[in-house]
């Protein structure tokens, strides 16, 4: 360490003015990136700069190059990252952590790691980590989409992959309230996808009643059991509009997923509807009617009483199996309807 300090003093005399000028230039930028590293960032405030994501991911390679004696090519390759570290406290802090952790890997030969004998943590703490990881994956997808927009690149496939993993991940969380927390920002991310993926403005927008969750229809739920075609004991995903509190359900008839809506507006009655499920493409096991989950046309018009029953698609997933129910429920986290004509 003393050698290092001596070296810094040697450098100081000759290069201090240039170093100070560099700091003046680079630290001039406003920093909206310095949020804490241990909290899930707000969708709107973290990693706005596309370059920032790229730089962060270079840190392990940079740290390894430093530990292995960098070549001239290494110095040039990581030059922009070095300048970024001067400018960005978040990346600098991450760099220090990762450098230190990478230093712990030097010289270790591959050998068996006995993780199988570790004590198993309690299920509830695993759930908390699962919720957190889902949120991170969703926020990561948002970051990717924002960066792609900034760089005029198409990163939809990557963002969809992250969201798909978040949804599959959430399906393993047994408590519906925790699943709800895990997926709470999913809807916001849907708005970041390219315009061609977005439906026109919806006449009604439904969300699942997650707290009702995984349960067969009970005798006490009059409206559901009264409706023909939904026998008692059937597993349903309950839907509700945000504002007007209209209700709907998704049921399964063999492998067909059916949408049931009630009390639709007067202006929709007698008309065919287009149903949009923004996250429909994320679950491959569903074969959508018409092939496009953004525009599924109802097979019948809305009845004069404001009700509609129409198939959405077929799937091997079963609402009666909890993990599969959870997957489908997450996919229907937004369901928009609008007139087809």
């Amino acid at each position: 360490m003393n050698n290092y300090i001596d070296r810094l003093f040697d450098l100081r005399d000759e290069y201090l003015p240039l170093a100070q000028w560099l700091q003046l230039i680079l630290a001039d930028a406003p920093h909206d990136l310095a949020a804490g590293l241990t909290t899930v960032p707000d969708v709107d405030d973290q990693f706005m700069d596309a370059d920032h994501i790229t730089f962060y991911r270079q840190i392990p390679d940079f740290a390894q190059a430093l530990l292995m004696n960098p070549t001239r090519e290494d110095i040039l390759r990581f030059g922009p990252l070095v300048f970024h570290l001067i400018a960005c406290p978040t990346c600098h802090a991450a760099y220090l952590e990762i450098y230190d952790a990478m230093s712990a890997t030097i010289g270790i030969k591959d050998e068996q790691i006995a993780t199988g004998q570790l004590p198993q943590p309690a299920t509830n703490t695993l759930t908390r980590a699962q919720v957190y990881t889902c949120q991170l994956l969703i926020h990561q997808a948002a970051d990717v989409l924002r960066a792609a927009r900034h760089e005029h690149k198409d990163q939809d496939a990557w963002a969809r992959s992250l969201l798909q993993q978040a949804i599959y991940f959430s399906s393993k969380i047994p408590q519906s309230t925790q699943r709800q927390r895990a997926l709470q920002d999913l809807v916001d991310v849907a708005t970041l996808f390219d315009k061609e993926d977005k439906s026109e403005s919806a006449a009604q927008s439904y969300i699942p009643v997650l707290s009702g969750g995984y349960a067969p229809v009970q005798k006490t739920t009059r409206r559901l059991t009264d409706t023909p075609g939904r026998p008692e004991g059937q597993f349903v995903i309950r839907l509700r509009t945000k504002l007007s509190k209209l209700e709907g359900t998704i049921t399964q008839n063999n492998d067909i997923l059916e949408l049931h809506l009630e009390d639709l507006d007067q202006e929709l009655r007698g008309r065919f509807l287009l149903i949009s499920i923004p996250f429909g493409p994320l679950l491959e096991p569903v074969r959508w009617i018409g092939g496009n989950p953004h525009a599924i046309k109802s097979v019948v018009p809305v009845g004069e009483d404001g009700s509609l029953i129409t198939p959405l698609g077929s799937t091997d997933l079963q609402l009666s199996i909890q993990e599969e129910y959870n997957l489908l429920e997450a996919m229907f986290i937004i369901l928009d309807v609008r007139p087809a004509d």
């Binding site: 240039l18 406290p89 230190d100 890997t105 496939a157």
Partner: protein
């Protein structure tokens, strides 16, 4: 069966419980008297999970490029995770105002003592440990010849806005960086001859913004790297003065085709190459001399 970095990248859902179990056990070991404080344990675990996610490893699949973490052997990867947990645990203990004498007090003797990283790290040209603060990062960047070259090239890029260039030259002179300032005055004497400087601070602000972007943008350094490689890998066309390079020969595991193309584009833009996106780059001997001068340049 232990999990691997590959599992976390390609099979997150199944490998996550193993990752969590490992991090949980290490966090409890590292947190000392707070080992049974569930919140503290979770904060440590969440920090490591967040870092792995931001690095593009967790669930990254083929969408994020491999990093050094993917290339670690499994024991090294677990050592990386273990040290990450330990560091965060120490951070938490410090925040709880507990005395922490040294890192080693919290490390697992069985794994860490035999492989004390501080005994095995080679002393890099950056010093050890490099860049402990942003200030020292700036000092070390200023002291590196190749990074000074990048700084100079970014300043030279201001020549299309002579007022901004002059504002920066004056600034360099004021803070005592005479050599660089004089080099720039000599190099751009014609452009600067007729420039009258008014609204200095406005020009300086614009120049700083451009420099900030240039220094942190890859094209300048990639151009230097490509220029280096172009003069290393050459294949003469028989009977001609022209030299040709297939782009693929310039690519390796650390330098992607996209990097190469960005560097070539930059070189073409500043007139050192005649290249319009073709698979093969043709350069004359004159161009090669200019390329060599481009990366050898020093203030």
């Amino acid at each position: 069966m232990p999990f691997t970095a590959h599992d976390l990248r390609y099979n997150l859902s199944d490998s996550f419980p193993k990752l969590y179990t490992y991090l949980h056990s290490r966090a409890r070991l590292s947190l000392g008297t707070f080992a049974y404080d569930a919140d503290e344990v979770e904060i440590v675990i969440e920090h490591v999970i967040e870092q792995l996610t931001k690095l593009g490893l967790l669930g990254g699949g083929d969408h994020t490029p491999e990093t050094a973490l993917d290339r670690l052997n499994n024991a090294q990867f677990h050592a990386f995770l273990n040290r990450s947990v330990t560091n965060k645990a120490i951070d938490r203990l410090r925040k709880r105002r507990l005395p922490t004498s040294s890192l080693s007090a919290f490390e697992d003797a069985g794994i860490e003592e035999e492989n004390d990283p501080l005994n095995t790290i080679s002393d890099s040209i950056w010093g050890s440990p490099p860049f402990p603060t942003p200030e020292t990062a700036a000092l070390q960047a200023a002291s590196q010849k190749d990074l000074r070259m990048l700084i100079k090239k970014c300043i030279e890029g201001l020549h299309s806005a002579p007022r901004q260039l002059l504002a920066v030259i004056q600034e360099l002179e004021e803070i005592g960086i005479q050599d660089l300032a004089q080099d720039l005055r000599d190099e751009f004497a014609m452009q600067l001859a007729q420039v009258e400087l008014s609204h200095l601070s406005q020009h300086k602000d614009h120049a700083h913004k451009k420099l900030r972007q240039c220094l942190q943008h890859s094209s300048t350094n990639l151009a230097v790297l490509v220029a280096l490689r172009l003069t290393e890998y050459r294949q003469n066309f028989p009977g001609t003065d022209e030299i040709s390079f297939d782009i693929k020969y310039l690519v390796d595991e650390r330098f992607s085709e996209e990097d190469v193309r960005m560097g070539l584009h930059h070189l073409a833009r500043i007139g050192l190459l005649d290249w319009h996106g073709e698979e093969v780059v043709h350069i004359t001997s004159d161009q090669r001399k200019h390329l060599a001068h481009f990366y050898e340049e020093e203030e």
